[in-house]
């Protein structure tokens, strides 16, 4: 249905273009080109734009809201005595049952009310689809005719088309803002719902995180199950391990590559480091499970202590590998931004290269390097797949790197994977964690970028 509608709109658009074009051509040949303001093609484009854009917009809005409108109709059409005792979860269940029956998946013996509702649901959807088709095509035809009537020799079709293009471009630019608004809005909304069920005090300062058990209402009120401190501690522990791996390797690589390495070596090593940056994180996660965790367990056994298979060390270590190219390229930029005159000044005093790097270049590049490290930390706490695959699920409050810990992202994924109902605190907790994660990474990024920017200005 939808594809036919889109196809029909496409055909109408083409028709509209030629309608505008032919009309313009007619008076272009009649009166000569000089009298015409815009090229004929612009007249065509003008008519085509009016024929397609409004009805396209209509279709999108229709599709976005048809589902919820029909749902509302469906619920209000159900007999009152059938739904008056249901809470929102049971109501949702009933609605999904009706929808599934409407699709043709009948399980067991549904009652007559449900069957009738399913039938109604199907017919309403069909009516809605036909209505959409009719109104979209109708709108397109009307717009075509009206727009075509505008076409005249002195009509400034080009300016009109360019204005439409500008509006479209501005709308596209606003998507970036809308995305941010969407993220903040949806996270905030679900988080507030979460805090209406679980006290924020508990969430931010509680020491006990057991959301899976807390599905039963009595335990939510009993308290203690949504204390996210262990999750934060686990996140920071893994991020710390990752930074301890990535910072020295990345920084020393950058120092060597910018100050010592030959052109040929740089040409080989830099792309290889970039490969590390291009590997998807799910691959790193599997690498951690396949190779690193067993290797660490064996190493631990050889040294006489036990390392858990999903230890913070394995997850953090592999995350560190992922961050090496990040640190090295940002440090590389920072070191390269230090003016040559400072190098000359130090070398001219008889300092060795090493002394120049340690005493002059690193202090001068420190803000840039710090900015890079902060960005890497933000990556580390937001990284998901490595920890989902290689870190633990149980939130243990420990700083022991050989023990499994869990992270914010692991909890978000485990709480939401599979079917999720939006009215229990377990699901909503994931959004609260998401909001914390979003704000933390945002703060780190803003801080890092401002440090880097101020540092750049210093040498520009």
């Amino acid at each position: 249905m939808l594809s036919y509608l889109l196809l029909a709109l496409l055909v109408l658009t083409t028709v509209a273009y030629y309608a505008g074009l032919s009309r313009a051509r007619a008076f272009a040949t009649a009166s000569g080109h000089a009298a015409q303001h815009s090229l004929s093609g612009y007249h065509g484009a003008f008519v085509a734009a009016w024929a397609s854009l409004p009805s396209f917009l209509l279709v999108i809005l229709w599709l976005l809201f048809q589902g919820s409108v029909v749902d509302q109709l469906l619920i209000s059409s159900l007999p009152v005595e059938r739904i008056k005792d249901l809470d929102s979860g049971q109501l949702n269940l009933l609605v999904s049952e009706i929808k599934s029956i409407a699709k043709g998946n009948v399980f067991g013996e549904p009652d007559a009310v449900v069957l009738a509702a399913a039938e109604r649901y199907n017919s309403w959807n069909a009516i809605a689809s036909w209505a959409m088709l009719a109104s979209a095509l109708g709108l397109a035809v009307v717009a075509l005719v009206v727009a075509r009537s505008y076409v005249a020799p002195r009509f400034r079709a080009r300016n009109e088309v360019e204005r439409i293009a500008s509006v479209l471009m501005i709308l596209c630019s606003l998507i970036a803002i809308l995305t941010t608004v969407g993220i903040v809005g949806s996270l905030l909304y679900e988080t507030l719902r979460f805090f209406s069920m679980v006290s924020p005090l508990e969430f931010f300062f509680g020491l006990n995180w057991e959301p899976q058990i807390a599905m039963r209402a009595d335990q939510v009120t009993a308290g203690g199950a949504f204390g996210a401190i262990p999750v934060y501690v686990g996140t920071l522990l893994i991020a710390l391990i990752a930074m301890l791996v990535a910072t020295p390797i990345g920084l020393y690589s950058a120092i060597y590559l910018t100050e010592y390495a030959s052109e040929g070596m740089r040409a080989v090593v830099k792309p290889l480091l970039e490969i590390l940056a291009g590997i998807p994180t799910v691959v790193y996660g599997f690498f951690a499970v396949l190779t690193v965790a067993p290797a660490m367990r064996d190493l631990g056994a050889a040294l006489g202590f036990s390392i858990a298979p999903n230890s913070a060390l394995a997850a953090g270590g592999v995350m560190g590998i992922m961050l090496i190219p990040f640190i090295s390229s940002l440090s590389d930029d920072a070191l390269n931004a230090v003016p040559q005159s400072l190098r000359d000044g130090s070398l001219g005093l008889g300092a060795t290269k090493g002394e120049t790097i340690r005493n002059v270049l690193l202090p001068a590049a420190l803000p840039g390097i710090m900015g890079g490290i902060l960005l890497a930390v933000s990556r580390a706490i937001g990284e998901t797949m490595i920890v989902v695959m290689a870190a633990g699920i149980i939130a243990a409050l420990t700083l022991n790197p050989f023990e499994p810990v869990t992270t914010v992202t692991v909890q978000i994924v485990t709480l939401l994977i599979g079917d999720s109902e939006f009215d229990n605190p377990k699901t909503l907790a994931a959004f609260a964690l998401g909001l914390v994660l979003f704000l933390a990474t945002l703060a780190l990024n803003v801080l890092a970028l401002s440090i880097v920017r101020r540092y750049r200005e210093q040498y520009d």
Binding site: G67, R158, E162, S166, I170, C172, S173, L174, I175, A176, T179, T180, G182, I183, S186, L187, Y189, I249, L251, Y252, S253, Y256, L257, A261, V269, L273, L276, G278, I279, P280, T281, V282, V283, Y284, G285, F286, L290, T291, I321, I324, T352, K353, G354, E355, S378, G382, T384, M385, V388, M389, I412, V413, L416, I417, F431, G434, L437, F438, T441, L449
Partner: protein, 550 residues
């Protein structure tokens, strides 16, 4: 370090003094040390990269071949009807064909373990073959069907027939016991002759000898044989049935309570095996019995085993059985999602970049847009998943697990990459081009569309491909919108149908317990990396080919 008088002609510092020489030497050593750290850091990074690839290839290459057994089947027209070839009892047909190789295997339980050698998907493979070639009904055909996962792994020497059951310190304990003359073989079973004190304290007044804690008595008894070391592991040398044995001894003669008796206790299976055969290994528990090896070996000897290339990896849908699981569903899901991602992010990204770079006035709104774009680029991917879940699925009621929604989420993530790349490409077009076009009377839109965009297109395309490559590897947001559905067939492919993507397929295979999925996962990763390499090479090629030097 002689007197450092400043102001005198010439340096007062004696550079040739031994102290001074040593100092210079030390300084150069420090310089070399720093260089060494740099080389060590680069070496470590390269080594890690190497280990990553080597371990993936090592684990993954096996999945590119499948161990198959050749069945020769008579497609009996009596069993398979021409009209409805799909409805015959293929399970029976396949099993009969396989059974024909082993005429001397009888008995239901033996037959059942015999059929375990074949993959459980063999019926469908034969059915699909017949449905595809109905003309072959009535003929004898030879069809390759995969063997089941353990035998596939066995044939590729990934898993052994026998595994070490006992660690070296356990064997040492056992040897110590043996030297004390405690162990012997009686009636084909290993036993330990141990003195056990039938402790009256462990015989409860209620229940009597039937309810006594014989386990504890045996442990106490054993402990006396290992005075020098206290280890719990000696307890496992004795079979778990030893307590029953002791109980029967005491039940037969209750007068032994309070005395020391010498009993012969059965050994645990691993230690029994070690005592009788001298081998500390046991049969790999993935296999039911040793006769399965013999059957498989005979197939191999008859030349019925082959290892062709695993085309199924690309053309099969997902499966719970690793030898049948393929990437067709994941590849189509990823392709559709990437298509949506491209269709949305490419025009929107270009429009945004062109507006910001060529038209936008410098004001608060455009500043806000820029800040937003920069920050979106650094938002963790899982947060985009939350957005998709809350907004697209929950608010707008879009279908779960659908490539359409996945593509939309990926598009939002890819937008900043495309915008940044496009703006850089637009900036690289020299202003003189714009001035020249404006000078001949073109409008600003015409300048952008006719001159600037075409010149910037190589850079835009390169950035777009790199953005799409990132989107292809993205996993977490797709997990949250449910694009990890188990889809065992590739019949229903569509933008709104439940689907899988390549990275989520990798995630779900990595989570599967069967040994064969380790190879499958690694192979899927190699396929994913292959696609990424191709996309990046394409980007490099485009940049080289179309790059213009100003």
């Amino acid at each position: 370090m002689t007197d450092t008088t400043l102001g005198s002609t010439g340096s007062g510092h004696d550079w040739s003094s031994p102290a001074s020489r040593r100092r210079v030497k030390r300084r150069y050593a420090a310089d070399r040390r720093l260089q060494f750290y740099g080389i060590a850091a680069i070496g470590t990074a390269m080594a890690l990269l190497g280990v990553l690839f080597v371990s993936l290839i090592q684990a993954g290459y096996a999945a590119f071949t499948t161990t198959k057994v050749e069945l020769s089947i008579f497609l009996d027209p009596a069993a398979i009807s021409q009209e409805k070839p799909g409805e015959a009892n293929y399970r029976r047909i396949v099993r009969d064909a396989f059974k024909a190789y082993f005429p001397d295997v009888t008995g239901r339980s033996d037959e059942r373990s015999l059929y375990k050698i074949m993959s459980s998907g063999s019926d469908y493979i034969v059915r699909d073959y017949v449905v595809g070639n109905p003309g072959k009904i009535g003929e004898n055909v030879k069809i390759l069907v995969p063997v089941s996962d353990p035998f596939d792994q066995l044939y590729k020497r990934i898993i052994p027939r026998r595994i070490d059951a006992l660690s070296s310190d356990r064997i040492a304990l056992f040897d110590a016991l043996k030297q004390q003359g405690v162990l012997s073989v009686e009636d084909g079973a290993g036993v330990a002759k141990v003195s056990v004190f039938i402790d009256p304290a462990k015989v409860p007044s209620e229940g009597g000898v039937a309810a006594a804690d014989y386990d504890a008595m045996i442990k106490d008894g054993l402990r006396s044989y290992f005075r020098n070391e206290y280890s719990r592991s000696y307890e496992e040398i004795i079979s778990a049935t030893a307590a029953e044995k002791l109980q029967s001894v005491v039940a037969a003669d209750p007068s032994v309570v309070g005395k020391i008796v010498e009993v012969k206790l059965p050994l645990a299976a691993n230690y029994d095996n070690l005592l009788q055969t001298g081998q500390a290994t046991i049969r790999n528990p993935r296999f039911g019995s040793d006769v399965e090896f013999a059957w498989f070996d005979s197939l191999e000897k008859r030349g019925l085993i082959a290892t062709p290339f695993t085309w199924e990896l690309f053309f099969n849908a997902d499966s719970r059985f690793p030898e049948l699981a393929g990437l067709a569903g994941a590849l189509s899901g990823s392709l559709l999602a990437l298509l949506i991602c491209f269709v949305l992010s490419f025009p929107i990204g270009i429009a945004t970049a062109v507006y910001l770079e060529e038209f936008a006035p410098k004001n608060r709104t455009t500043d806000l847009i820029e800040v937003n774009i920069n920050n979106l680029a650094a938002v963790p991917s899982v947060v985009f998943g939350l957005l998709g879940l809350a907004l697209f699925l929950n608010t707008f009621g879009m279908p779960r697990s659908a490539p359409l929604v996945g593509g939309m989420v990926l598009a939002l993530m890819t937008l900043p990459t495309i915008i940044v790349a496009t703006r850089a490409a637009l900036k690289a077009v020299p202003p003189s081009i714009r001035e020249a076009a404006l000078g001949v009377g073109a409008s600003r839109h015409q300048v952008a569309l006719h001159h600037v965009l075409p010149l910037a297109m190589p850079g835009i395309l390169t950035g777009t491909i790199i953005g799409l490559a990132q989107a292809l590897g993205e996993t977490a947001p797709l997990l949250l919108i449910g694009m990890n559905a188990f889809i065992p067939s590739v019949e229903n492919i569509g933008l709104t149908e439940p689907a899988m993507a390549l990275p989520t397929q990798i995630f779900s295979w990595a989570d599967s317990p069967e040994r064969g999925f380790v190879s499958r996962t690694s192979a899927a990763i190699l396929v994913l990396l292959g696609f990424l390499v191709m996309m990046n090479l394409l980007a490099v090629y485009l940049r080289r080919k179309l790059e213009r030097k100003w």
